[in-house]
Subunit: 527 residues, 2 copies
């Protein structure tokens, strides 16, 4: 089975569906002017990728493998496969910088064609960037091309079948090119759901979820994507991998966990078998007010450690709560808004009722004030919208970006303080640093930061300095450089510190074994 509707291509210089692009509402313009001063920083409309370095003679072999209509070399398609959607990516795209454009976009259909494309690339010394949804925010789609004859984007858009459903084992086998909503629509036909809703959900792909260890907004209920995967197949330049003989086993190191998070550097994931659940009959989201970020975080810990989690649980710090409430209706409210928590429940009606009642008892007992379903519905309605707002702010000279990390509970306060201080110190007075917790575990949680600042004359350098300061703070605090955004190229120096010299050598050894000529995503992931 394949999806019924065509894939929506994102705008080459902005996030998401071009039809959904937005300008800042007038009501917000005033606030933004007050905070940052309005600047007019429109994107150029005049950009073309560099001349392609792969000639038609070379591409003939590729056309034989996938069919001529699936080797695209037009400028518009090449522009659409240039980098991902981090703010640095967008800043570059907005200035018309398409230096990282692939020479061609190739669209194989099936494991065999992927393997054949890799063999062709090895033979001709061409670098290959696997492309799923294009939503990467860590530079994972900007491979190095030095030393290669050229670079092709291996677009998985034709591989979007639901290959198998096993309703006894509650697993589904999906091709990697399926976008989030496409996978959910196909599973819904069987009354099933994956329950994986990262902010990139509308455009990101199953293969990307696996290759980057994505984690969704409902992770408290459905788990991280890597925890859903029970099997996968991959094509590597030196042969196929087919892993997943059982839910769990003691047959050596878990090689599935070596391919998960491998970001296209070890192989191309050609199918993923995931645990699925019954589609929820009921979904409810509601809001809670906490007097402080610490109090709310402690409550999340209590829930996680008592095995009593909602499906969704997220907590904004004081600054993010204040900004979220900064709409015209809320302005002038004198009451301290505290910290907003969203809890969500998805499942059968009785399950939702039972769990909601139990969580409500805990949260109320710990000092939360119930805010009813309105804040929850508002969050659910806007849950995929923030990246559109980023574009609107970039149009007005505001630098906006996010970064995230995770640590153990006992280290949460320190990590929060240190990363926040690093960002504020780097971005200077007038910058905003917001934070929320949106993924919790028995032993710890994630911290997700959003920053906004008036753009300097070189916003890219401005951001890179702030990002480096924040990343240094994460590593100094013993935390991870990324909870769910992967390594890409942007995180490599800190990733190397996180896993140490021996860890880096292990990854290089695996890379050398699976991809001895290094054609796969050169420069991505491996320090």
């Amino acid at each position: 089975m394949t999806p019924e509707t065509p894939t929506v291509e994102m705008h080459p210089q902005r996030w998401g569906d071009p039809a959904a692009a937005t300008r800042l509402p007038d009501s917000a313009l005033g606030l933004v002017e007050l905070a940052f001063g309005l600047q007019d920083t429109p994107a150029t409309t005049d950009a073309a990728p560099p001349a392609r370095s792969l000639g038609d003679d070379l591409l003939a072999g590729l056309r034989e493998i996938v069919g001529a209509e699936h080797v695209l070399v037009d400028d518009a398609t090449r522009a659409l496969r240039t980098r991902g959607k981090s703010t640095p990516d967008l800043l570059r795209a907005r200035t018309g910088d398409l230096a990282d454009a692939p020479d061609a976009v190739v669209r194989p259909d099936g494991h065999g064609e992927v393997a054949a494309v890799l063999a062709w690339a090895v033979e001709h010394g061409v670098a290959v960037v696997p492309f799923g949804g294009g939503t990467c925010v860590t530079g994972g789609l900007a491979a190095r091309r030095d030393g290669f004859a050229g670079l092709v984007s291996l677009d998985l858009v034709r591989m979007k079948r639901l290959l198998a459903v096993d309703e006894v084992s509650m697993t589904a086998t999906l091709q990697p090119g399926l976008r989030g909503p496409e996978a959910e629509a196909l599973l819904a036909g069987h009354g099933l759901t994956l329950g994986h809703y990262p902010q990139s959900y509308q455009h990101a792909s199953i293969g990307g979820f696996a290759a980057t260890r994505s984690s969704g907004q409902s992770s408290a209920g459905y788990g991280r994507f890597d925890a859903m995967v029970v099997g996968l197949t991959a094509a590597t330049p030196t042969g196929p991998l087919d892993l997943g003989s059982s839910p769990a086993n003691a047959a050596g190191p878990d090689l599935r966990q070596l391919l998960l998070g491998s970001e296209g550097a070890f192989g191309v994931i050609t199918s993923v078998t995931v645990r699925v659940r019954r589609a929820p009959a009921e979904t409810t989201y509601e809001g809670w007010r906490w007097p402080s970020f610490d109090a709310g975080s402690d409550a999340m810990r209590t829930l996680a450690q008592s095995g009593l989690l909602p499906t969704v649980i997220r907590l904004s710090d004081e600054s993010e709560t204040a900004i979220n409430l900064a709409d015209p209706a809320s302005i002038g409210a004198t009451e301290d808004p505290g910290c907003l928590m969203i809890t969500g429940y998805e499942g059968a009606a009785s399950e939702v009722a039972d769990r909601r009642a139990a969580v409500t008892r805990v949260l109320t007992g710990l000092g939360a004030t119930p805010l009813g379903t309105e804040p929850g519905e508002k969050w659910a309605h806007g849950r995929f919208g923030a990246p559109y707002l980023r574009d609107a702010l970039l149009d007005h000279g505001v630098l906006v970006e996010t970064l995230e990390t995770a640590t153990f509970w006992s280290n949460r306060e320190r990590l929060y303080a240190d990363v926040k201080a690093a960002l504020q110190s780097s971005l200077g007075e007038g910058s905003l640093v917001l934070c929320h917790v949106s993924h919790v575990y028995e032993t710890g949680c994630s911290l997700y930061f959003t920053v906004a600042a008036r753009q300097s004359g070189d916003p890219l350098a401005q951001w890179q300095a702030a990002k480096a300061a924040a990343s240094d703070a994460m590593i100094a605090a013993g935390a991870t450089i990324t909870h769910h955004h992967a390594v890409g190229t942007d995180h490599k120096p800190w990733f190397a510190q996180e896993i140490g010299e021996v860890g880096v050598r292990v990854l290089r050894a695996v890379k050398a074994e699976l991809d001895p000529t290094g054609i796969l995503n050169p420069g991505v992931l491996i320090p």
Copy 2:
């Protein structure tokens, strides 16, 4: 903190505490005679390891590292570090075969000494077998020594400290030499538990649990050991690994999951940081009768897929149930015993009560007959005792061994039938093949087989043929060669089929990077 009591050494030819060795009770002798015919097959008491091939000049360097008193070369100690506790291991030991004895037993204390021992071994071309509890049942302690100057057993018995407890994050950092009860006793001092109770619990070690991906009898409540690990350190011949920056992250492949299950072939695990839980205030175990193995298995699936599992859940098939009931009091009962399920609940009193009530509703609704707490208490009382019974049966010419696998729910019936048929066909008429399910997941479960047969003149060959037939059936059914016993040397041919040629090459590449001269557990794990 370290344990207060000295480590109990297991008998070199039998399982467990020599003081607890048992003979078959008279009541059982009759049954065994009826089933298999009694034979007298006593173990030899006359055995000595071969002359050691590492001279004192070479060992001087080792003595400098760990202290002379921690390099042991006496025959008794060498015999105690020869192989593990599989039935083939015991059959060999019972005939006095100590060919696999190490030349010396070295007992380092701490990561630094472990690293120094590895450097010494690399320098002198000596093979090293890491030794935790010695409970391995897959040949993982019988390393090859060809091509090496000799072989030392790296005994972690001095490394048994509780290094850190973090009661906010609910983690504990443990040294690898701690035996199960020692770790639990230290954690109990903080009101905590790991909750990991494999049948080997009384003798197996924390390092072994990690290196072999152990799974305990309470896995439904506490998870597999690999799921408990949030961090680890390891010493490898080419440097240290220190992994675990967060509960979960997207920082590349999960290298923790590459060391877990590495069976001492990549490095020596020198500490493990694990998720811990509050020690349960209440524990209750009870029994249920199911009309068939299929009906009980389907109920386990229903529970696992509704997120409503007891802490312990296990189900014996018809044969195992009948044998378990074959004590003098039960004999003559004409009622079909069906299939016995044990459910156990551990936690705070209210938690236990709530969960028990909910599970009871489901099981009763699906057709189970409650048997009260007596079968549960009986199981709990005898839960670590089966290996002692194996020795008693080996004394009487009965071949007894276990093997286990796992698969997805939709494949359970096939796997059960195929493995059972393979064992019965190989072992012939009069053999017993029993099975239970003791580890369940949303997507599948384990199958654990116990066989008993009259020993042939060559019981080792007899078992190896049956084991090969069963292993072939597992791989043919697409299942795993081992759910929780690891690969060792016994499973290597099937492990290679399970992960495929590319998977094997990945493991070899990691091995070559971390242990380029191959001193670590040569011949173990890596096909």
